[in-house]
């Protein structure tokens, strides 16, 4: 029986879809059977980020309404074995599906897959409630910004009230240079407010934008640090204890600075 995990955030644009795509792909690369579900009905993005939009024939709403078989709606990824996508509908709206229908769908999916990752829409309304309905676990994604953390806190409060077991946190788009300057919240600041278990920290990386535009999840080819971070998240989900990446800039000037003893330290607490 598979694990159903919802990836949510409250705030829009912090990286839920990118996280779902990359963590799901990483898990499939590790040999697991993974189904990605796009619960953002009306504003679907997961298909674009995965590069699978040309192959969509049926979508989640048609399955739930009985117009299509689940088997026919699942889009199998040709690059990675055991990875499939259940796309959202682009021409419908959030109320086309009820939480009960989502729960039934997830129960069906978990029979066949080791992991069902649900990409939640932003917000706390109907779309979010649909996405959470079938899940037993949750990953909350935030960026290191006050507004995003505020929304994440709200979401965590709602998840806790919904009895979703201990949500875990992914901090996305971290810019170490800004953190060093004191211009960006660091992990401790965020943890003080959210106080949930940290699952991963992903650095901001231009390659992500390139990759999502191309429809190639960065974990497929990337050797950059964001790809590594996503792969580590997948390993932690599997239960492995993986130390967190150092986000220090280890480029040429970084090494030079530490040699010469001019290594900059973070803000003192």
């Amino acid at each position: 029986m598979g694990r159903v995990i919802v990836i949510t955030s409250g705030k829009g644009g912090v990286g839920k879809t990118t996280t779902t795509a990359n963590v799901g792909t990483a898990l499939a690369l590790m040999g697991r059977r993974v189904c990605l579900v796009d619960a953002d009905i009306g504003l679907r993005n997961l298909d674009v980020v995965m590069g699978l939009e040309n192959r969509i024939v049926y979508d989640l709403v048609e399955v739930v309404e009985g117009h299509a078989r689940l088997r026919n709606a699942l889009v199998k990824d040709k690059r990675v074995e055991n990875l499939a996508l259940l796309p959202a509908a682009q021409t419908r709206e959030k109320d086309a599906v009820t939480p009960e229908q989502m729960r039934a769908l997830c129960d069906e999916l978990r029979q066949e897959f080791d992991y069902v990752l649900i990409d939640s829409p932003a917000g706390i309304e109907h779309g979010f409630r649909n996405a959470v309905a079938g899940a037993d676990e949750a990953i909350v994604v935030t960026s290191p910004e006050v507004a995003a953390v505020r929304d994440a806190d709200r979401i965590i409060g709602i998840l806790e009230a919904h009895d979703v077991s201990e949500p875990r946190l992914v901090i996305n788009r971290v810019r170490p240079d800004m953190v060093r300057r004191g211009d960006m919240m660091d992990i401790d600041d965020i943890n003080e407010i959210l106080a949930i278990r940290l699952l991963g920290v992903v650095p901001d990386d231009e390659q992500i934008i390139v990759a999502t535009n191309r429809g190639e999840p960065v974990v497929l080819n990337g050797r950059n640090r964001a790809a590594q971070a996503y792969r580590n998240i997948a390993r932690r989900i599997e239960g492995e204890e993986v130390p967190f990446l150092s986000l220090e800039d280890n480029g040429f000037f970084g090494r030079l600075r530490s040699l010469v003893g001019m290594k900059r330290r973070g803000p003192d607490r």
Binding site: D153, R154, I193
Partner: protein
């Protein structure tokens, strides 16, 4: 304010509270209501699981301490409410107290205290007729409103409204007092602009000379 407007607001507030007030006693303050008006209020309260208490004198809120002397003794929590309504004439209260071996302690209804044993997250609200103690933080975007004092054994970062209902002597205390907004009775205050310092020790806010003042907390 017209009564139906009031009732509409009250209904909206009660709906938001999601059953939080179920079982609570309700005391009316303000202008006296006609029997018809009382009935309307009573019906609304009943809808949300609350009983409108009959108009009584002060005697009916005596709480007898169980056993200890006049100097202390916590009121038996399970008996407080029923006891209050059952004891009409003061004489009864006296004789009951004797039989328990302790003195009657006057505990006004607003001195009840709610203990919240977790952090209050953004978007969550606590309403209480009495004092509120939070064992945890109050995150930005969270609200605590009560008629008495507020004590936060953690960081108060949200909105705290003590003395709601007019108690200007109410206070707000926190391990780290850094609210987005502080309200005591009808006074509202926020941190001065441009000040970004984090408090270094526990502090208490109270109204002094018409303004909300914050001082280091010394027990």
């Amino acid at each position: 304010m017209e009564l139906d407007e009031l009732l509409r607001e009250l209904r909206a507030r009660l709906q938001e509270s999601q059953g939080f007030f179920r079982g609570s006693p309700v005391y009316l303050e303000g202008r006296p209501l006609s029997p018809a008006e009382r009935r309307l209020v009573g019906e609304l309260m009943k809808e949300f699981g609350m009983e409108l208490s009959e108009p009584e004198g002060e005697e009916d809120v005596r709480v007898t301490s169980a056993g200890r002397g006049a100097s202390g003794g916590a009121p038996d929590p399970g008996r407080g409410r029923d006891e209050g309504r059952a004891q009409r004439p003061a004489a009864d209260a006296g004789s009951r107290a004797d039989s328990l071996g302790g003195a009657a302690v006057d505990v006004p209804p607003d001195d009840r205290t709610l203990l919240v044993r977790r952090t209050v997250r953004s978007g969550q609200r606590i309403f209480y007729a009495g004092n509120v103690v939070v064992l945890g933080d109050v995150n930005p975007g969270a609200e605590v409103t009560c008629t008495g004092d507020i004590v936060v054994m953690g960081r108060l970062r949200g909105v705290a409204h003590a003395g709601a209902g007019g108690n200007v002597g109410a206070r707000v205390m926190a391990f780290r007092l850094q609210p987005t907004q502080l309200r005591i009775a009808h006074y509202i205050s926020r941190a001065p602009d441009g000040v970004d310092e984090e408090p270094q020790w526990p502090e208490v806010a109270s109204v002094n000379d018409g303004v909300i003042e914050i001082q280091a907390f010394t027990p």
